[in-house]
Subunit: 228 residues, 2 copies
DNA sequence: AGACTACCGAAACGTTTGTCCCATTAATGG
DNA sequence: CCATTAATGGGACAAACGTTTCGGTAGTCT
């Protein structure tokens, strides 16, 4: 939200500023791995980065600002969706990357920290939301391709399929706080795929004819013959 | 973990102690509604409850302890699973109760606070885990009944179905931080149900014969002929 | 009713956290 | 290479936080 990465107008993005930012973000990540978000202190980060405490407060405001900036940094490094040629392979790749983001030591600590920070700070929440909406949008393309290949019903909402795969993993991470395993990821894919094939991810109401809307109260069913 | 509700051995659960606890927990909830977990301070809670700051520190230790105790209190008030006669109605009731727990002002603030607290404190995490595992276990019965009625494939994992319904809602709440609506809840039920009917929630490997294990890599399929 | 004692509460205390001031450093532009 | 000035860094400062002490209040038991 501020000017951590690149400032407006007539400032100097030159060497020192960038160097300080890199050192601070790296120190932040180290601290997150060792102590988690609640154990993150501005003082400690400044000391570890070898910069003045004042500087860290001035540029990031507080620990939520630090993790938010870190998240924005990760957002710039996000990779494109997989394209294995089949929808199951793509979705498994997606689930695997979610699993990494959760369980991998350094990366996992960062993501969990941002989730924690987002519960307390709107800036961190915005960074989190932006990151995931962008990520969902990217991976939704894989689903769209599968629809075009005829692997999934026409009209399937790609973004929702991607969410459906991530959701159970985050549920275990944040709500029930159980360990999240590779098997969980595979099951998640299998289930989302089963629902998608059954047409449960086809948008309910395109509403072109506003006449006697079909209140689907029993279950949502696929209509593959509808021309998208 | 301490002795908030009822102490061990030769203590006095008498009037005053219970009165103090009630006042403190209510003040805690009020503060959570107004300021959220990160704005919760022991000082403020004590003042609002009209009790001494020392007392709150002594009995609850810190703000995570407060929300953990609050969660334990809610756990005691949890209601049994719905039984509408059909699995879809039951699952919709479940989704609705999750939705309430998330969006309802007072209740929602409490649950979100516990989720936030759990990211920082093991005591709060334990309270959260216990609450949800118990809740899942309770609602899984509704799925089991549906299996017995023949509405779902034999061997369907009830707990996993219940998780699958809650997961997308919490995902929106905690990760993408989008508003969670009634439509989200209904969609969640429809999708979980579609996957369940397709047999995607049938346990993959009962593994009685450890010979040449069937690596199900294509998709998980139902085996309704297995004798439970 | 009276003694016992578990529990509570007000205030003082040391520690941690965040802010401010001002001298110093080092990019930038000529 | 030098002047300019954005940005940094150390240290002093105020506020918030959590802990400790000790006197007071009110259940509990006989």
């Amino acid at each position: 939200m501020d000017q951590p990465s690149r400032s407006a107008g007539t400032v100097r993005p030159g060497g020192r500023t960038a160097r300080v930012r890199a050192a601070v973000l790296e120190a932040t990540q180290d601290e997150l791995v060792e102590r988690g978000f609640h154990g993150l202190t501005m003082d400690q980060v400044a000391a570890r980065a070898g910069v003045g405490k004042t500087t860290v407060y001035r540029r990031w405001g507080g620990t939520p600002g630090l993790v938010a900036d870190l998240m924005n940094e990760l957002a710039n490094q996000s990779s494109p969706h997989a394209d294995t040629g089949g929808i199951e392979g793509d979705l498994l790749a997606n689930a695997q990357s979610v699993l990494d983001a959760i369980t991998d030591g350094r990366l996992g600590a960062t993501f969990q920290a941002v989730i924690a920070a987002a519960t307390a700070d709107e800036q961190a929440a915005a960074a989190l939301r932006t990151f995931y909406l962008r990520r969902i949008e990217e991976w939704a393309k894989a689903v769209d391709l599968a629809v075009e290949r005829g692997e999934l019903p026409r009209g399937t909402d790609g973004g929702e399929v991607i969410r459906a795969i991530s959701a159970p993993l985050y549920y275990r991470l944040v709500v029930t706080r159980e360990p999240v395993t590779r098997e969980d990821a595979e099951r998640s894919v299998a289930r989302a795929l089963a629902a998608a094939r059954a047409g449960a991810f086809v948008a309910a109401e395109p509403a072109p004819a506003p006449r006697a809307r079909p209140r689907a109260h029993k279950a949502v069913r696929a209509h593959p013959e509808r021309q998208g």
